[in-house]
């Protein structure tokens, strides 16, 4: 082997040490920042053992987490799968924080460390920093100190009020975690000063326009009272800002029976749920972005002669494992692999930009043949979530490549019908349906607080807007409702209302059946 080529290599064998790690990091960083024009948080790479990785798994991937039995259950479960060899551990774990923390497993070979550094420390990191959902909903620089606060606060509560007292609140809050996020931005709340100002103006207006004549009108005997009740109801809903989709937020602010520390616990659970909400909406893009970045960087390094053929083969091997997509009738089929779909879409965008077919020019006139794939990708990563990204960028070529088809499934029938396949007529429907399946808000049951009379019986009314006739699983619905009641302190009822026809499909309540 010529000496010059050998010395150009970043590393020679599979063992790693901190020197090779940092040399490789620098080479990757150069490509990521100069060539791909990524914009990342400063990186912090932490080496951990497999046991610590299991620990991290069970605390939902946070380096700091409060204690709760459900994490213990998850740990037991993950450990079981790992020990049985049914599931390997991830090579890395990355946390959306500033500085961006990436965990590397000590068992990884040097080639794997290079791969995951590019994948997590640059791919995911760039996505976390630039995607609009993360920017809007999460505060990367504050999350670690918030978790530290949360952990300490909950420990303090346990010391003061007893573990079981804290546990029952957390149990109930965890049950509502899915309903504990804001899905849409609200207009900013008026400050209390402005609120007072507005009330004063309204009173003034009423005084100015007061006319004694109105009082002399005879009350209409029937319509009046029901109209009054209606007005009362709408008045009080307005005061409580109803309907409210964030159940945890509503309970935290409005429940009459909770102590301040219990409200704080609800808040902690809610903040964590909100922190993870963007990740759930961007699985395909996030993984696609990271996989595309590591693939591009590794190839670039190989072209520069800085990675040996053996290491490159090892990386390609695990890369192709990650982006493997079995077909629907394969026993290994777990659903659509977000790595596979994401990576294929990123590569497809690159192809459309640099080497478009006439079909692509038809479908993507703005980007086809522009040659600016870096800019296009960076723009897509910044401004989309899975649903809009697929709706915008899934090309017919890719639908054909994956041989996607659409099945419709009605509960009553004992068959599923093929609605569309990868042909001219099917592209649009398949694309829309696939995009919708990644819309987290549309797939979760839409349950809102619609009414409560705080001065009356304080009966909390929830409404489930039933879409496509998909009801709730009854056993877990009733159990969850009991958790709501526990936090609310008074009876709670849930009504399922068809979103289109407004028919009431079912009603259930925690009140005794006699009611």
């Amino acid at each position: 082997m010529p000496k010059g080529a050998a010395s150009n290599l970043l590393f020679h064998d599979s063992d790693w040490n901190f020197e090779t790690l940092s040399r490789t990091y620098d080479a990757i960083e150069t490509i990521a920042l100069d060539d791909l024009q990524l914009d990342v948080y400063p990186n912090q790479l932490e080496i951990i053992s497999s046991e610590q990785m299991l620990d991290a798994y069970s605390s939902v991937g946070m380096p700091l987490m409060y204690q709760h039995w459900s994490f213990g259950k998850r740990f037991v479960f993950e450990e079981h799968l790992y020990r049985k060899g049914r599931r390997g551990l991830a090579y890395e774990l990355v946390i959306n924080s500033n500085p961006c923390i990436t965990y590397l497993m000590e068992e990884n070979t040097m080639a794997m460390q290079a791969l995951v550094t590019a994948h997590a420390a640059f791919g995911h990191n760039h996505f976390f920093k630039n995607n609009y959902l993360f920017q809007q909903w999460t505060d990367a620089s504050a999350i670690l100190s918030y978790m530290e606060f949360a952990k300490k606060y909950i420990t303090k509560c346990e010391e003061r009020y007893g573990t079981s007292e804290v546990e029952v609140i957390l149990d109930s809050a965890h049950a509502l975690m899915d309903q504990g996020v804001f899905r849409y931005r609200r207009p900013p709340r008026l400050s209390s000063e402005k609120e007072r100002e507005r009330t004063r103006e309204r009173l003034e207006y009423e005084e100015q326009t007061y006319s004694d004549l109105w009082r002399t009108l005879p009350p209409s005997p029937d319509g009046q009272s029901s109209k009054d009740a209606e007005r009362d109801a709408s008045e009080r809903k307005k005061a409580l800002n109803l309907p409210e989709e964030n159940l945890l937020y509503f309970l935290e602010k409005t429940s009459l029976i909770l102590e301040p520390w219990q409200r704080e616990l609800l808040r902690i659970v809610r903040v964590i749920a909100q922190y993870f909400y963007p990740q759930r909406q961007t699985k395909v893009m996030n993984e696609g972005c990271a996989t595309f970045v590591h693939y591009t960087i590794m190839n670039r390094l190989f072209d520069q002669g800085r990675i040996s053929e053996g290491s490159m083969l090892e990386m390609l091997h695990s890369h192709s494992n990650v982006v493997f997509q079995p077909s629907f009738d394969d026993p290994r089929f777990p659903g659509i692999n977000p790595y596979a779909l994401g990576f294929a879409m990123m590569q497809d965008i690159q192809r459309v930009c640099t080497d478009p077919t006439p079909e692509d020019r038809d479908w993507f006139p703005e980007i086809a043949g522009s040659g600016k794939w870096r800019e296009t990708l960076i723009d897509a990563w910044a401004n989309h979530r899975d649903e809009s990204f697929i709706l915008q960028y899934l090309s017919p070529a890719l639908i054909r490549k994956f041989r996607l088809f659409l099945l419709t499934d009605e509960a009553g029938d004992n068959y599923c019908e093929v609605a569309s396949i990868h042909n001219e007529r099917g592209y649009e429907t398949i694309r829309t349906a696939l995009a919708r399946s990644y819309d987290v808000a549309a797939n979760q049951s839409d349950i809102q607080v619609v009414d409560v009379d705080l001065l009356g019986d304080r009966h909390l009314r929830l409404q489930h807007n039933v879409k496509n006739g998909i009801l709730l699983d009854e056993a877990s619905r009733d159990a969850t409702l009991r958790h709501v009641r526990h936090l609310w302190g008074y009876d709670v009822s849930l009504a399922g209302v068809d979103a289109e026809t407004d028919d009431v499909l079912y009603e259930c309540s925690t009140a005794p059946a006699s009611e």
């Binding site: 610590q52 077909s327 419709t408 609605a419 009801l471």
Partner: protein, 441 residues
């Protein structure tokens, strides 16, 4: 340049607390499982890890979940081979719906088992035995250690400072660095005092005093700079934990297996034997267990037969004691073996045999045994009647005489698990004195 942090040496088991909470939550169910496993397994197996199935009750995490059997859905799936629009596929019967989604989350938790550590198993086992905490701790500790002197160390706790060694180091260092002794300083000071006392005002005299003063100053500075005892001199006694020498023990389990001993009685007896075994295992390296069952004749059997097979016949307790003596003579000479015996019975005995038992115990058995524990398993209703009195079965009355004479004989009546411990109370109470003896040796 990124920030690399090596976390591998950080404390592990971050989620141990969570695991503990989870086990506490599922306690009742796990306890039942462990109890069943102990019932079915061998006595010696209690003291080990156990695999248990994932508990179902009490650890559910409900949330609002869409029900899979309602409504219309659409799935986009990859890998179409031959379908065209309008084709119909039969739904797979199990798993509800054609969905492959979400299969990763709820998969077959039914056959999912996890491992409880030895400590966790013992915790569950002890729970309704109502053992004092110190005893629980004693039983869980697997090997007894005794600290043994092993040279010196440069670090340690202040109580372990070895003064002799430290002062020797200090002395050597003071010599090497020529630290002026107090006598040197005193000599010069005396000299100055003497010279000053002389009323000599000559120049040479003053100079001499001046020089001596300087010398004294130098010595004193030197003394200050070179410490008398420096941290580098200090040596500590080093101790290494050394496992206590363990001998062998044999445990005799004697049980009446006549028809009057039912399922409940045998279960209680088993717990009694397990507890003794745990105690012995902690103290001795090698333990043999001998199972002797008897009706009107006794025989040595294996564990399974001992607990699970039934035999008909009368009850003659002395046959079991005779069998035990025979086995001791044959295989377990009392010089080499620590002999423990545990007898469980419902108190029935044939007329006149109880006196024979007592005389056997008095004359031979009690001299050979370290400890002899007898439990009489009675009905829960009978506790009210017999609770504290000396009345009872013939065997009970006969054994009372042994109890009063031999301190290593213990007897009690049990009706529920929590009654078992008192019979061992003395055994555990002897613990501290025995340890003291080994330490002094």
């Amino acid at each position: 340049m990124p920030n690399f942090i090596d976390r591998r040496l950080n404390p592990k088991d971050k989620s141990l607390g969570n695991r503990r909470r989870f086990l506490k939550r599922a306690r009742e169910e796990l306890k039942r499982t462990i109890k069943e496993q102990i019932k079915a397994g061998k006595i010696a197996d209690v003291d080990a890890e156990h695999r248990v199935p994932m508990p179902e009750r009490g650890v559910g995490e409900p949330s609002f979940q869409p029900s899979p059997s309602t409504g219309e859905r659409q799935y986009v799936l990859p890998g179409n081979h031959e379908f065209s629009p309008g084709d119909r596929l039969p739904k797979p019967s199990a798993r509800g719906g054609a969905s492959g989604k979400g299969a990763g989350t709820g998969e077959s938790e039914d056959d999912f088992q996890f491992v409880l550590s030895r400590d966790e198993v013992l915790d569950l086992f002890f729970e309704d035995l109502e053992l004092p905490d110190m005893v629980k701790l004693n039983l869980k500790e697997s090997v007894a250690f005794k600290p043994r002197r092993a040279g010196f160390a440069t670090s340690g706790s202040p109580t372990n400072i070895n003064v002799g060694r430290t002062m020797r180091n200090s002395y050597g260092r003071r010599i090497a660095l020529r630290r002026p002794s107090r006598a040197d300083v005193a000599a010069i000071a005396d000299e100055i005092a003497r010279l000053e006392a002389e009323s000599n005002t000559s120049d040479a005299h003053q100079k001499r005093i001046e020089a001596l003063r300087e010398e004294l100053d130098k010595l004193e500075r030197r003394r200050r700079r070179i410490a008398y005892v420096d941290p580098v001199d200090i040596r500590f006694n080093r101790f290494e934990p050394q496992p206590l020498p363990n001998a062998s023990a044999v445990m005799f389990c004697l049980m009446d297996v006549s028809a009057s001993m039912g399922e409940r009685e045998k279960d209680l007896a088993k717990r009694f034997f397990v507890l003794l075994h745990l105690f012995l295992k902690r103290r001795y390296k090698r333990i043999d267990i001998v199972f002797i069952r008897h009706t009107d004749e006794a025989g040595e059997v294996d564990e399974n037969t001992f607990f699970y097979s039934k035999q008909s016949g009368g009850t003659v307790v002395s046959t079991a004691i005779e069998e035990m003596l025979r086995i001791i003579e044959e295989r377990y000479p009392a010089r080499e073996w620590n002999i423990y015996a545990a007898q469980a019975s419902d108190g029935e005995n044939s007329a006149g045999d109880s006196d024979l038992c007592v005389s056997l115990l008095h004359r031979q058995v009690m001299r050979l045994c370290q400890y002899y524990a007898y439990v009489e398993i009675i009905d829960e209703r009978e506790t009210e009647i017999f609770g504290t009195t000396d009345n009872g079965t013939s065997l009970w009355r006969a054994y009372r005489t042994v109890d009063s004479e031999w301190s290593n004989f213990q007897m009690t009546r049990i009706a529920r698990p929590s009654d078992i411990y008192p019979v061992f109370r003395k055994l555990f109470a002897r613990q501290p004195t025995m340890q003291l003896r080994t330490e002094r040796r």
